[in-house]
C-alpha cells in the first residue's frame, strides 16, 4: 500500500505496472544505482507505451498452442497493437524509431532499456517483462547483444517492422534486412544458451510465420497449422511491399539455417 503513495496515476497505464517496473529496477546491481536517479520518476509515457506494444506482440506470438487460439482474444490484442502503432505514427515516434536504427539513440533510451534488461535477467524466468528490454534494443543497431530468453522474442522483433510495412506500405528494404539479420543473431544466442532438448521444443512450438502481424492473423484465422517451410512461403506471399524480394532471400536463409539447427 505504501509503495503506491509515491506514484501518481498515469493516464494510460496503471500504477501496478509502473510499480512493477520500479521494483525490478531496484533489484539491479550496485553500479547501476547512479543511473536509477534518472528513472526514479515514472518511466515516460513513450516507454510505457512501447512496453505495452511489446507485451501485446509477445502475447500474439504465445497464443500458438495445440488447441486453436482464442480468436476473440487475438483480435482484441491485434486491435490494441494497431491502436498503439497508429498513435505512434501520429506523434512521430514511429518515424523517430526508424531513424534511430542508424545508431543515434538518445542516452536516456539506452539507459532505461539497459536497466530493464539487466534487472530482468536477475529475475525469475518465465515472465513477459524480460522480453521488453530485448525488444527495445532492436531499435538500436549498436547496442551490445544480450541473449533473449525466448525464441518468440526474436520473432516479435520482426513483427512490428512488417506490420508497419504492410499497413502503411513504407518501403525500408535495407532496414528490414538489417533487423532481420539482427534477429537471426538473437536466435543463435538463445540457442547457444539453451540445452539441446529445448532447441527442439523451440522449433516445434513456434511457427515462423508469426513475423508478420497480418500473416499471423491470417494463419490463425484460416486455421492452418503450417510446417516451417510452408509458413515461410506464406509469409513471403502475404507481405505486399516492395521489400518482398529482399524478404524472400532472407527467408530462404532462415529456412536453411532452421534445417541445419534442427538436424544438429
Amino acid at each position: 500500500m505504501g509503495e503506491e503513495e509515491g506514484l501518481h496515476q498515469t493516464p494510460f497505464l496503471d500504477t501496478m505496472f509502473v510499480r512493477g517496473l520500479k521494483r525490478k529496477c531496484f533489484d539491479g546491481e550496485e553500479d547501476i544505482e547512479g543511473t536509477l536517479a534518472g528513472i526514479k520518476a515514472i518511466p515516460s509515457y513513450n516507454l510505457q507505451r512501447q512496453s505495452l506494444l511489446d507485451m501485446s506482440l509477445v502475447k500474439l506470438q504465445l497464443c500458438h498452442m495445440l488447441v486453436e487460439p482464442n480468436l476473440c482474444r487475438s483480435v482484441l490484442i491485434a486491435n490494441t497493437v494497431r491502436q498503439i502503432q497508429e498513435e505512434m505514427t501520429q506523434d512521430g515516434t514511429w518515424q523517430m524509431i526508424n531513424t534511430q536504427s542508424t545508431g543515434q539513440a538518445s542516452l536516456d533510451r539506452l539507459v532505461s532499456t539497459d536497466i530493464l534488461c539487466r534487472s530482468s535477467r536477475d529475475q525469475a524466468e518465465g515472465k513477459h517483462v524480460p522480453a521488453y528490454g530485448t525488444f527495445n534494443k532492436d531499435f538500436e543497431n549498436d547496442q551490445a547483444q544480450d541473449s533473449s530468453d525466448t525464441m518468440s522474442t526474436a520473432s516479435a522483433v520482426q513483427a512490428p517492422r512488417n506490420l508497419q510495412s504492410s499497413v502503411w506500405e513504407m518501403e525500408n528494404p535495407q532496414e528490414n534486412k538489417g533487423n532481420f539479420q539482427k534477429s537471426l543473431d538473437q536466435i543463435f544466442e538463445t540457442l547457444e544458451n539453451k540445452s539441446p532438448n529445448s532447441v527442439e521444443d523451440l522449433f516445434s512450438e513456434v511457427d515462423n510465420s508469426y513475423y508478420d502481424l497480418d500473416t499471423m492473423l491470417t494463419g490463425m484465422m484460416s486455421n492452418t497449422k503450417m510446417g516451417h517451410c510452408d509458413s515461410l512461403e506464406t509469409f513471403s506471399s502475404s507481405t505486399n511491399t516492395a521489400s518482398n524480394s529482399n524478404c524472400k532471400s532472407d527467408l530462404n536463409d532462415l529456412d536453411h539455417i532452421v534445417e541445419i539447427l534442427v538436424e544438429s
Binding site: 503506491e4 505495452l52 480468436l71 490494441t80 491502436q83 492473423l217
Partner: protein, 434 residues
C-alpha cells in the same frame, strides 16, 4: 436474507450452468466434457429440512476430446453451453455444445420393469422349455429409479470457428448456434444441414477487427435475435427481413466516454454475455467492468449501467498482462427481471436491485456456505477507510473467478460455479419474487 446452501465439488472446472424452464432441473457442464444434472427434491412434510434441495440426478459424458487431422489441432471437449428444450412429454431434452459440435440429449426415467416372462428367466437367459409347465402374463413391477440419457442428434460440421452460444427458439423447432464469425440456424430434427443467418467474416482476414461474442433468441418473438460483438455493440436482427441477417434491424451502441479512454477501452467494452429479460423488453449485457440494461426501443445508450468492480479500472494493464482482462463473465436476470446478477473475482458475485438501486457483494466459499448460514455481504476497499472484514483490491485472488451463474426461473434460488465447485443458494425466507 437467510440462505440455504449446497456445495458440490467437481473433478474438473465447471464451464456452464443452466436451470431448465421449471427450475426443477439444473444442468452443469465441465471442462472434461461431462454433464451433471441436479434435480430438486419435491417438498414434503416428512422431511422439512430436505425440502427443495438439489441432488445429483444424472451424470454423463457429453463430449470427448477430438483431433482435427486437417488442421493438426485438438478440439477441446469442454462444454461451452447447455440449453434446455421446453419439455413436451415425460422426457427432458437438452442441447450441449463444445467448440465445434452440438448434441441433443434425451433424458428419460425408468422406474418399472416387466417381470414374469415365459421364455426367459430373470437374468434374460432362455429357459429350458421342459421346465415350463404353465403360462403367465408378464407384469410391470416397480424398480429403483434409473435415469437414462441418450444422444438423439449430433449437429456436426457446422462451424469453422469456436461455438460460443446456442439458443433455442420460442417456436421449439429451431435453434441457433453462434461462433466467432458466423451464426447458424438449425432445425432440431435435421442434422445434415443448417442455414447461415449471420456471417461477419471479411473477404480478407487481415481486415478482421470484430468478432461475435454471444447470441440469443428473443423469448417471445421467434423471428428476432440479438448478437453482441467484441467492440461492445449489440445487433438485433429480424429473420423475416432477409435470409442472411448481416444487416441488423437495430444497432445498440453506447458512445465512448472520452475521459476514460485508454488503450484498453476497446477490450473492456467487449460484451461477454447478452441475455434478454423474461419480459422480452430489455437486454442485459456484461462487459469487463459493468453490466448494462438496454431497452429494445432505445439504441443510443443503455437505460441502466451498474459498476461491477470499477476499482479494477486502474489495474487494467496488469490484468492485460495476466490475461484476466479477457475473462468472459456471464450475467443473469431473476424471474421477475427486478434483480440482475453477475460474477467477479475472489469468488465474489454481485447482485443489483433495479428498483431500489441497492447492490450487494457476496462470496461463494466453503466457509460462507455452511447449511442454513446467512451469506454475509462483502466489501472491497480501495484505500481510504478500511472496515473490518473488508478486502483490499490488491489482496483479491484473480484465479478465483465466478464466470458462470444462473438464476431459477421463478424462485430465489441461484447456482454459482466457482472454478470446480458448484454452490446452490436458496433464499428460504423470501422465496417469492418481489
Amino acid at each position: 436474507m437467510k440462505m440455504k446452501s449446497v456445495c458440490a465439488t467437481y473433478a474438473d472446472i465447471i464451464s456452464t450452468v443452466e436451470f431448465n424452464h421449471t427450475g426443477e432441473l439444473l444442468a452443469t457442464g465441465d471442462k472434461g466434457g461431462r454433464v451433471v444434472i441436479f434435480q430438486r427434491e419435491p417438498e414434503s412434510k416428512n422431511e422439512p429440512y430436505n425440502q427443495g434441495e438439489y441432488n445429483v440426478y444424472s451424470t454423463f459424458q457429453s463430449h470427448e476430446p477430438e483431433f482435427d487431422y486437417l488442421k493438426s489441432l485438438e478440439i477441446e471437449e469442454k462444454i461451452n453451453k447447455i440449453k434446455w428444450l421446453p419439455q413436451q412429454n415425460a422426457a427432458h431434452s437438452l442441447l450441449s455444445t463444445n467448440d465445434k459440435t452440438i448434441k441433443l440429449w434425451k433424458i428419460t426415467e425408468r422406474d418399472k420393469r416387466p417381470e414374469g416372462y415365459n421364455l426367459k428367466d430373470e437374468e434374460g437367459k432362455l429357459k429350458d422349455l421342459s421346465t415350463v409347465t404353465s403360462l403367465q402374463v408378464p407384469v410391470l413391477k416397480p424398480m429403483d429409479l434409473m435415469v437414462e440419457v441418450t444422444p438423439r442428434r449430433i449437429f456436426a460440421n457446422g462451424h469453422t470457428y469456436h461455438v460460443n452460444s446456442i439458443s433455442v427458439n420460442s417456436d421449439c423447432e429451431t435453434y441457433m448456434s453462434a461462433d466467432d464469425l458466423r451464426i447458424n440456424l438449425w432445425h432440431l430434427a435435421i442434422t445434415d444441414r443448417s442455414f447461415n443467418i449471420v456471417d461477419i467474416k471479411p473477404a480478407n482476414m487481415e481486415d478482421l477487427t470484430e468478432v461475435i461474442t454471444a447470441s440469443e433468441f428473443h423469448p417471445h418473438h421467434c423471428n428476432l435475435f440479438v448478437y453482441s460483438s467484441s467492440k461492445g455493440s449489440l445487433r438485433l436482427c429480424d429473420m423475416r427481413a432477409s435470409a442472411l441477417c448481416d444487416k441488423h434491424s437495430k444497432l445498440y451502441e453506447e458512445p465512448e466516454d472520452p475521459s476514460n479512454r485508454s488503450f484498453f477501452s476497446e477490450i473492456i467494452s467487449s460484451v461477454s454475455d447478452v441475455k434478454f429479460s423474461h419480459s422480452g423488453r430489455y437486454m442485459l449485457t456484461r462487459d469487463y467492468l459493468t453490466v448494462k440494461v438496454w431497452d429494445l426501443n432505445m439504441e443510443t445508450k443503455p437505460v441502466e449501467t451498474y459498476q461491477v468492480h470499477d476499482y479494477l479500472r486502474s489495474k487494467l494493464c496488469s490484468l492485460y498482462e495476466n490475461d484476466c482482462i479477457f475473462d468472459k463473465f456471464e450475467c443473469a436476470w431473476n424471474g421477475s427481471d427486478s434483480v440482475i446478477m453477475t460474477g467477479a473475482y475472489n469468488n465474489f458475485f454481485r447482485m443489483f436491485d433495479r428498483n431500489t438501486k441497492r447492490d450487494v457483494t457476496l462470496e461463494a466459499s466453503r466457509e460462507s456456505s455452511k447449511p442454513r448460514a446467512i451469506l454475509k455481504p462483502r466489501r472491497v476497499c480501495v484505500g481510504g477507510k478500511r472496515r473490518k472484514d473488508d478486502i483490499s483490491v490488491d489482496s483479491l485472488d484473480f484465479t478465483k473467478k465466478i464466470l458462470h451463474t444462473a438464476w431459477h426461473p421463478t424462485e430465489n434460488i441461484i447456482a454459482i460455479a466457482a472454478t470446480n465447485n458448484l454452490y446452490i443458494f436458496q433464499d428460504k425466507v423470501n422465496s417469492e419474487m418481489h
